[in-house]
């Protein structure tokens, strides 16, 4: 395993401080809702077991889109994934006190981890059904797509158009970069954001991701690899041996405003927490021991005595490897938040960092919700955050008091 770590955390002007959080999941929206869900006596997941049978998903809560996306014309240009991301980005900017600050938005850098948007289920269904009766499938595609596709749907599907919509709706225009690649893209987005702050290449950034699982094509992406859990719902650490691949997905988003300490204090913001080291890796899972690779990453971060906010996906081998690695270091204060939110794909790592930052700021006592880790977790001044991709790529970070 080759772990790359960014700079050491130093109490200096280039520390990366989280000053705004915009999160949405089946648990609700915003830091408060998530803090209360995680500290409730018995945190409970919100599940939809019917709409996508045999798959269970964690659905989006009711959202008042217009509160962050004021123009109906903008809303019409987006499907659920882009709406969700643009909405969460707006929450983060609001939370950081930057919403509508034209000058700081115009110099704000942006990194979005993205998959793709929603396909037209009806058009796809038509073509697939017709394909059973015809041999000229190439002509069929042309015939149907040229007449039935809504022209602007393409823009709702393009990966970089979540960032594009954030620029249009929230006027964040310093720069705009989109990373692709499932959980790893979320890791790289945070890692790059933090590295740029640490190196003085950026003073303030918006970074995050969204995932809408409530679309069959977005489930298909998992199921071609056999990744989805197909059994009765169970907590993320307890799906080994059950039917299916172990992943239960959720819709959700996490955007963070991260600033250099100098920039944050310059405008009087204390922030939630600091993101110190970020580690990332690409274990060759076919030939390497993933548990050792994850362990090396945790060791490189010095995260061995901290509570853990784990992004474990439930995917059998990756989740077992992470469990082995945590157990091997005596790390028993673990919260596998996918039990409550479902797996958020590109948003998994940003979401984990956001939860950690909220917990650190409030010194929260996180209630147990999982028999694998059944003791309350008292968060003090630091949290280790992990995300081990269900299929590939790993990341971890230490989030500590600002």
């Amino acid at each position: 395993m080759r772990a790359a770590t960014s700079h050491d955390p130093r109490m200096n002007q280039h520390d990366a401080i989280i000053t705004g959080i915009g999160i949405v999941s089946s648990l609700g929206e915003g830091p408060e809702a998530h803090l209360s869900a995680l500290t409730a006596p018995q945190p409970r997941p919100v599940l939809d077991t019917e709409r996508f049978v045999p798959y269970t998903v964690h659905p989006l809560p009711e959202i008042d889109w217009g509160s962050q996306i004021a123009k109906r014309g903008d809303l019409r240009q987006m499907e659920a994934w882009q709406r969700l991301g643009t909405y969460a980005a707006g929450l983060a900017l609001d939370d950081a006190g930057l919403k509508g600050d034209e000058a700081l938005s115009a110099t704000m850098d942006m990194i979005v981890a993205a998959g793709g948007g929603e396909r037209d289920v009806a058009v796809d269904g038509d073509i697939l059904e017709a394909s059973l009766q015809r041999n000229d499938r190439g002509v069929l595609i042309n015939e149907k797509l040229t007449t039935e596709l809504r022209p602007t749907l393409f823009l709702a599907q393009l990966s970089n158009l979540l960032a594009g919509n954030i620029s249009i709706v929230h006027k964040v225009t310093g720069s705009s970069r989109t990373f692709m690649g499932e959980e790893g893209a979320g890791v790289s987005a945070i890692e790059t954001a933090v590295a740029r702050i640490h190196a003085g290449q950026s003073s303030h950034l918006l970074v995050g991701a969204a995932f809408n699982t409530e679309h069959p094509d977005h489930l298909l992406g998992y199921e071609v690899g056999g990744a989805l859990h197909r059994d009765a719902w169970a907590p993320v650490w307890s799906r080994g041996g059950m039917h299916g691949g172990g992943v239960v997905t959720g819709s959700g988003a996490a955007f963070l405003v991260i600033e250099s300490r100098a920039h944050a204090t310059g405008r009087g913001r204390a922030g939630y927490a600091a993101v110190g080291k970020v580690a990332s890796g690409r274990a060759r899972r076919g030939s390497e021991d993933l548990a050792m690779a994850i362990g090396a990453m945790i060791d490189a971060l010095g995260g061995s005595a901290l509570p853990v906010m784990s992004g474990a996906s439930g995917a059998h081998s990756a989740t077992a490897a992470e469990k082995t690695s945590l157990d091997g270091r005596g790390l028993q204060s673990v919260r596998g938040f996918s039990t409550l939110t479902g797996h958020l794909k590109e948003a998994q790592f940003p979401f984990a960092v956001a939860l950690a930052a909220i917990a650190v700021r409030h010194g929260a006592t996180l209630a147990p919700f999982d028999p694998a880790f059944d003791a309350p977790v008292q968060v003090q001044d630091g949290v280790l955050v992990t995300t081990v991709g269900s299929r590939r790529y790993e990341g971890a970070a230490v989030v500590s008091a600002a």
Partner: protein
Amino acid sequence: MRSMTDSFGRPIVVVTGIGIVTSLGVGKDENWAALTAGKSGIHPITRFPTDHLNTRISGMVDFLASSGRSASALTHEMAELAGREATGQAGIGGDFGGPLFLAAPPVELGWNQRFDLYRRGSADQQGYARLLAAAHAVPGEVYEDDTQFGAVVDRLADTFGTRGLPITTSTACASGATAIQLGVEAIRRGESDRALAIGADGSATAEALIRFALLSALSTQNDPPQKASKPFSKDRDGFVLAEGSAALVLESLEAATARGATILGVMRGCGEKADDFHRTRSKPDGSPAIAAVRAALADAGMAEDEIDYVNAHGTSTPENDKMEHLSLSTVFGERIRSIPVSSNKSMIGHTLSAAGAIEAAISLMTMREGVIPPTINYDNPDPAIDLDVVPNVRRERAVASVLSNSFGFGGQNACLVMTREPV
């Protein structure tokens, strides 16, 4: 002794290896010969039927093993070919030992795969329910790579022995430039002495073509194909969808010098600025593109009058070429009329995610060879665009510095400034 840092005290980043694949061929020699001869790679589409389509031409790469197999397979093959050429030229064998940045198109399960899954499905199910059930029944990873955005770069990381978690970036038609920028920034941060930046795009499927056609972005001047892409011409009517790849080995000047590598050019500055005006159209005053050019110059520590040549984004769409002219004339003033500005897309079409990398590679060769590839098909100049587009025939001229522009849907604007010599 030569300084190893720039005027900002950052490590100078140089290029020590270049690889290119376009519809004109594999490798920089073949491409350079064709590009300087004014040859077009645009040809009729044969990969899929063109019934019902208004656009029947493209710059697809049709001569590789995975051509037409799937978008991700072809993207991977072209990325690997370009990467091998670049690392080979740089003289880096074995493990590359630095990070990998790939500009690549978003992936989707292709229609052939969807048809196949559907056929395997159960007759009592329809639509996505049937696809999902069939997908579950197909063992292993038969289709997985076509749905996983991180899969292509994972295999490339294995092939080249790059370090760490590789990044795949998509900033639409600016992606290639963004991949290079990410590499430059990593070296400047001191994370690595070298980085491999690749842009590759093999996603010219029927659906991709139809999507762009529905946005009225494509040329429909099908006959003759090689005349369709005509940047800056009055009768330009859209871009020509194309495929290709390019790879650059980026290194700190210090590391390159220490190992005695040949320096092919300097990646002097990168600039970007997002547009908040519209999903496909630029702000009418051109201010974001102008800001991106100025940011690249500022990052390079150079003034406007130090640019010898502009490798234009030059897509041949009515909108882009007009706005690019507006931005360039705003930044460079009167002098823009005497700066050569040419568009490689006149010959290779618009290679989308790969374009920024391919055009950076060609820009570096332009400086090295002292030859500017022309803008071909410039038979009917747009009088509103008063530029020296290096019309139709290459120009021999010493070029010490280049500005390369990349602009894309979603308000993406990224510019690179390259120089021949480290200063």
